[in-house]
Structure formats: structure tokens, C-alpha cells
């Protein structure tokens, strides 16, 4: 996968001196970040580094203590939440739906920001929902009531369910999408299925920002990688530049080797545990 440095001059989403926190605790402090438009940006960092908090801040789920997040040059805190929902979609970590809600009903709720008291199901709403269902493969099989779109969410596999949630954010027809660990609790095949779907979306021009736990997945799927430590941006850029042994040591407190991923050519991080260090020494002793 070729990885040119993304153009950051036409950024739509941007954080300036952003400070975020819960109660008395400050999690993200004076952070500046420009999200490259039309690219996939992945936030990585150890637990508690503020990556999920930052994503919430970017998605106006958390009010900034100071500083601001700008969407097209205007502070999002000053815009109506409905207006923002037409430009920016988000998917929190492990969302839950009421029991018995069908995929189609869930996806239709993505149209909320376009609806009014009188206009609750326009032709545009219907078209957007159809498109979202088709893109996420929820219409496949097309066996009438038995197809995925008419099944309750709680009867689906983890991967299908995550696809249904992504379909809901797609029905919002936004060109920016924020996702918090979209692959947690999924097995490997479903992780790849969901991440590939996000690449498909990105190909249609959607800017994607997501938090990922797995560094190697992050390197494979990111155009732009942001490593966070203690609420600050430690390093940012294309994965080849950011993903170094020094970065992993500084940010995660872990010794590692970085090699080339034999499939994609992106950096691949191999952690060195205490146990292996010991064995290495034993081996040298021979």
C-alpha cells in the first residue's frame, strides 16, 4: 500500500489547544491535531492515554475545558448538534440497542438529523437507508423477511452487528466518520471484515478517524497514524515514520523490533517480553 504524506492544507476537522477531562481529572491537555481530509487516521496509545477521550472530544460528546474542535473552521460547540450530525457520524465503543430492534429500524434512525416532526420518512431517507444496507451487505441473501435487514440486532453475529451499526452511521450520509475501537470483541475474520468495509467507505471519499488497539492493524489500515501519550500527541505522520522502536518504547514502555509486514510492506511491531530477553541471554551463553 503506497503511503504518501497526506495533504493537510484542506483539513475540515481540527483540534486547537484542546483540553478535555472528566470531573476533576484532566485527560487531554492543550492538544493540537489536524485530521487529514479523505484519509484514514488511526489513534493509538496505551490504556488511559486519552485516545478515546480525544475521539469523544472530536465528536462533540465531551465539552472542552478549554480550546476547541473546529469543523470547517467553526467551533463545533457553537453549532447545533443536529447540523453537525449531518456532517460527522460517530460510533462509540460497544454500543447497545433495545431488545428486538431490527437492523432496518436501527439503520433508519441514522436519518434523525434530516427529519422533522412532519417529515419523518422522505424519499431521500429511504434511499439513504437502502444504500447503507447495501454497502454493508445487510441486504445479501434477499430472502424477504429472512434477510439480515429484517432480523433483530440481537440475533446477529458480532461482525454482522458491527456492520449494522456502521450502516446506521452511513445512513447519516456524513463525510467524516469517527469510530472507537470498531473491532473490539470480534474474532480475527470479523475484524478484517469490518476494517475492509471501512476502507471501502474511505474509497468513496469518507474521512475516517478511529481508535485501534492493535498496532499492526493500525499500521496496515492507517494513512495517518497518531500516537498519544498522557494526553499529548507524541508522534504523528505516516505509519512508516511514526512506528519506530523508540516510539513503542517511549509510548508503551515496551521493547520491540519493527520489521516489514510481508503482506502489506507496512511496519510490523514484534514485542519483546521479559521472558524472551531471558531466553536470548541463555542462548548467547551457549
Amino acid at each position: 500500500m503506497p503511503q504518501p504524506t497526506p495533504d493537510r492544507s484542506h483539513a475540515r476537522l481540527e483540534a486547537q489547544r484542546l483540553t478535555l477531562g472528566y470531573d476533576r481529572e484532566i485527560v487531554v491537555r492543550e492538544l493540537n491535531l489536524v485530521i487529514p481530509t479523505g484519509k484514514i487516521t488511526v489513534l493509538v496509545g496505551p490504556n488511559g492515554c486519552g485516545k478515546s477521550t480525544l475521539l469523544k472530544g472530536l465528536g462533540r460528546l465531551l465539552q472542552p475545558r478549554s480550546g476547541a474542535v473546529y469543523l470547517d473552521g467553526r467551533a463545533i460547540a457553537q453549532q447545533s448538534t443536529k447540523a453537525i450530525a449531518r456532517q460527522l457520524g460517530l460510533l462509540p465503543q460497544s454500543p447497545t440497542a433495545p431488545e428486538g430492534l431490527t437492523v432496518r429500524e436501527l439503520v433508519a434512525q441514522g436519518r434523525y438529523p434530516y427529519q422533522t416532526w412532519l417529515q419523518q420518512w422522505s424519499k431521500a431517507d429511504e434511499a439513504a437507508v437502502e444504500r447503507a444496507l447495501r454497502m454493508t451487505g445487510m441486504k445479501e441473501g434477499d430472502a424477504g423477511d429472512a434477510s439480515l435487514e429484517n432480523r433483530p440486532l440481537d440475533s446477529l453475529s458480532g461482525g454482522q452487528r458491527q456492520r449494522a451499526w456502521i450502516a446506521m452511521t452511513l445512513a447519516q450520509e456524513t463525510d467524516i466518520l469517527l469510530l472507537d475501537e470498531p473491532t473490539t470483541f470480534l474474532d480475527l475474520a470479523h475484524q478484517v471484515e469490518v476494517l475492509d468495509l471501512l476502507i471501502d467507505l474511505n474509497q468513496t471519499g469518507c474521512t475516517i478517524v478511529m481508535v485501534l488497539h492493535d498496532l499492526n492493524q493500525a499500521c496496515r489500515y492507517a494513512d495517518y497514524l497518531v500516537a498519544l501519550r498522557e494526553g499529548h500527541v507524541f508522534a504523528q505522520g505516516i505509519p512508516n515514520e511514526v512506528m519506530t522502536e523508540a516510539m513503542v518504547r517511549e509510548v508503551f514502555g515496551l521493547e520491540s523490533r519493527i520489521v516489514r509486514d510481508p503482506i502489506t510492506g507496512t511496519p510490523l511491531c514484534l514485542p519483546i517480553s521479559r521472558w524472551y530477553e531471558g531466553h536470548h541471554r541463555v542462548a548467547e551463553g551457549f
Binding site: S80, A85, A97, G100, P113, W121
Partner: protein
């Protein structure tokens, strides 16, 4: 187009709605059931009136018996209508609280709103026995709102969390219940017996005045709840997602809670604490039409109305001529169902 959605859409003006096909069918079914039970309930009594004559009398037609008009229109009809309206109000209130608190166990009876209304009314009956009974509904109403406000303020911590609201609510429910018990234990025996009848929840002796007092609350509350059905849908996905799809969470939740308390308060003020209706009716309705609130709200309302009208009829027939208050009947049905759900959810 999915085959199971009904779509109403105008090409000229920007008006469009959608509804699951089964919703109108269910509403029609529940509506007819209610009519049947209403007629049976009016027809039954110490002085039975044949069901057909009930219908004729209500429609203002001649039945040949001059007593029927008084028995049906003055004595029995307002009572069953109050039962119907109380059931509808409690059911809508319950559907709203269960939706916004994302907890199927969180009905106004359980989070303390009804208990607050009851405490205020019992305090009035026992502590100030001289006071006119006509201000009872107002006291119940103020009590419900006070408890609700306290719950909301105590649970507020940089935003209102559903779980905290439920926990604080259960705490308040127990506390107000305990104070009510103290009052009942130490109060004057005559006042206490009057309070106990009211506490058990009954539509005995309710007249057209009560129907008239309830109607404006339902007339405002039910359409308001229906208009906010999409916000209820959004809120039941969780605060983050609701905000993500553009719902202004805090003030929509606040508004919905006010509607819920208004309806629950009006119901408790009229008939006392008719237990578990606000909790069971939305459950049954969810089984019938699924969890989207455009269909759920009206279905729950009719289910709740049917439940209370039936409970009143059963209460009158079971040990006739002794009359059981309908609140006792709904509680006898609701409490085991509540336990069943608790056990089922644990597994």
C-alpha cells in the same frame, strides 16, 4: 422497499411517516377488545344491564327502561372511562421512563414518582384531616413532581446518567414508602382507613368530574409523547449515539421526563397508586409491536387502558359483592411478572 413498513408520504408537501404494518392491526385489535370489555364492565353490577342495552343507552337511543340512562351514563360509564384513562396515562408514562432510562424495570412506580405522589396525598389525609378532599389530586401531583425534581438534581453530575437516575429513584421510592408507612402506623384510625383505600388504587365512585379532570392531561401528554417518539428511539440507543445522530440529549430527556411525571401524577391523583401498570403495559406492547416508539407508545397506551379496565371488572366480580380495588388486582398480576423478569434477566 421493505414489505412490512407502511409509508405515508405526500409529493406536494413535505409530510411523511412510516409505521410497521403490524401496528395499526394491533391498535385495531386492542381497541375492539377495550370496547368489548368496557361494555361488559358497564353491563355488570348489582343491577345488571344487558350489553346491547348498554350500547343503546350510551348512543342515546331508547331502550324501554328509564333507569338505564342513570345507571349507565351517571354511575358506571364515568368509572370505567376513568379506569381506561388512568391505564393509558400510566402506560405512556412507563414507556417513556423505560425508554429514556434504557431499563425495562424503570417504571414511574419503581423510580419513586408514584410513591412521591402517594406520600403527599397520605400526608394530607392524615396530618391535616380537616382539609378538603378536593385538593388531594393537586397534592399528589406536587408530590410526584417534587420527588422527580429531587431525583433529577441528586442524580445530576455534569449530565444525567440513566443508571444513577434509576438507583436514586429506587432509593427515593423506598424512603417515601417508609414515611408513608410511618404516617399510616401513627395516624388516626379513621383517617388511615380513608388513606389506605386511596393507596390501594381504586376507581370506585369516580364521576364525570374525574373524567374531565384527566382528559386535558392525556390530551396534551399523549400527543406530546408521540411527537417525541423519534427522540425516545434515539435516547434508547445510549447518550453518545443519540448525540451522534443529532438529538440534543439533555433537554429532550428532561422534557420527556416532565411529560412522564405529568401523566403519572395525573393518574395517581385520580385513582391512587394502581401498581405495575406503567411497568407491565410497555412490556406487553413491546412483545406485540417491537421497540420503536412510534408504534410502541399508542400500543402501550391501549394495553394499559385495557389492563386497568379489566382489573376493575375482575375486582368487582371476583368476590362480589365485596369489591377489590383495581390497584390490588394489577399488583397481584404485576408483582409476580416483575419477579419473573428479574429472574429471567439474571440468566
Amino acid at each position: 422497499m421493505a414489505p412490512n413498513w407502511l409509508v405515508m408520504r405526500s409529493n406536494q408537501i413535505p409530510v411523511s411517516f412510516r409505521l410497521h404494518q403490524r401496528v395499526p392491526k394491533m391498535l385495531l385489535l386492542l381497541g375492539s377488545l377495550i370496547l368489548v370489555v368496557l361494555v361488559l364492565s358497564v353491563s355488570y353490577g348489582e343491577y345488571p344491564v344487558p350489553p346491547l342495552d348498554v350500547v343503546w343507552t350510551v348512543l342515546g337511543l331508547e331502550t324501554g327502561n328509564p333507569d338505564y340512562a342513570f345507571i349507565v351514563n351517571t354511575l358506571r360509564l364515568p368509572r370505567v372511562l376513568v379506569a381506561l384513562l388512568v391505564g393509558m396515562a400510566l402506560a405512556i408514562a412507563g414507556t417513556i421512563t423505560q425508554g429514556i432510562l434504557r431499563n425495562p424495570l424503570a417504571a414511574p412506580d419503581i423510580i419513586g414518582i408514584n410513591a412521591g405522589a402517594a406520600l403527599a396525598a397520605v400526608t394530607l389525609i392524615i396530618a391535616l384531616p380537616g382539609v378538603s378532599v378536593s385538593i388531594l389530586p393537586i397534592a399528589a401531583f406536587v408530590g410526584g413532581f417534587t420527588v422527580f425534581t429531587l431525583i433529577y438534581l441528586l442524580a445530576w453530575n455534569r449530565g444525567s446518567s440513566p443508571l444513577r437516575l434509576v438507583l436514586v429513584g429506587i432509593g427515593f421510592s423506598l424512603m417515601t414508602g417508609a414515611i408513608t408507612n410511618i404516617l399510616v402506623t401513627f395516624g388516626d384510625i379513621y383517617d388511615v382507613s380513608q388513606a389506605l383505600v386511596w393507596l390501594a388504587g381504586s376507581v370506585y365512585g369516580r364521576s364525570w368530574d374525574e373524567v374531565g379532570a384527566l382528559l386535558p392531561w392525556l390530551g396534551a401528554g399523549i400527543p406530546a409523547a408521540m411527537l417525541m417518539a423519534r427522540d425516545l428511539n434515539a435516547l434508547s440507543l445510549g447518550d453518545d449515539l443519540a448525540r451522534g445522530i443529532g438529538s440534543p440529549v439533555e433537554w429532550r430527556r428532561g422534557l420527556l421526563l416532565v411529560i412522564s411525571v405529568a401523566l403519572a401524577g395525573a393518574a395517581v391523583a385520580t385513582a391512587g397508586t394502581v401498581g405495575f401498570v406503567g411497568f407491565i403495559a410497555p412490556h406487553i406492547a413491546r412483545r406485540l409491536v417491537g421497540p420503536t416508539h412510534e408504534g410502541l407508545l399508542p400500543t402501550a397506551a391501549l394495553t394499559g387502558g385495557l389492563l386497568v379496565v379489566l382489573a376493575d371488572l375482575v375486582g368487582r366480580t371476583l368476590f362480589a359483592p365485596i369489591e377489590l380495588p383495581c390497584g390490588l388486582v394489577t399488583s397481584a398480576l404485576g408483582a409476580p411478572y416483575f419477579l419473573y423478569l428479574l429472574i429471567q434477566r439474571r440468566q
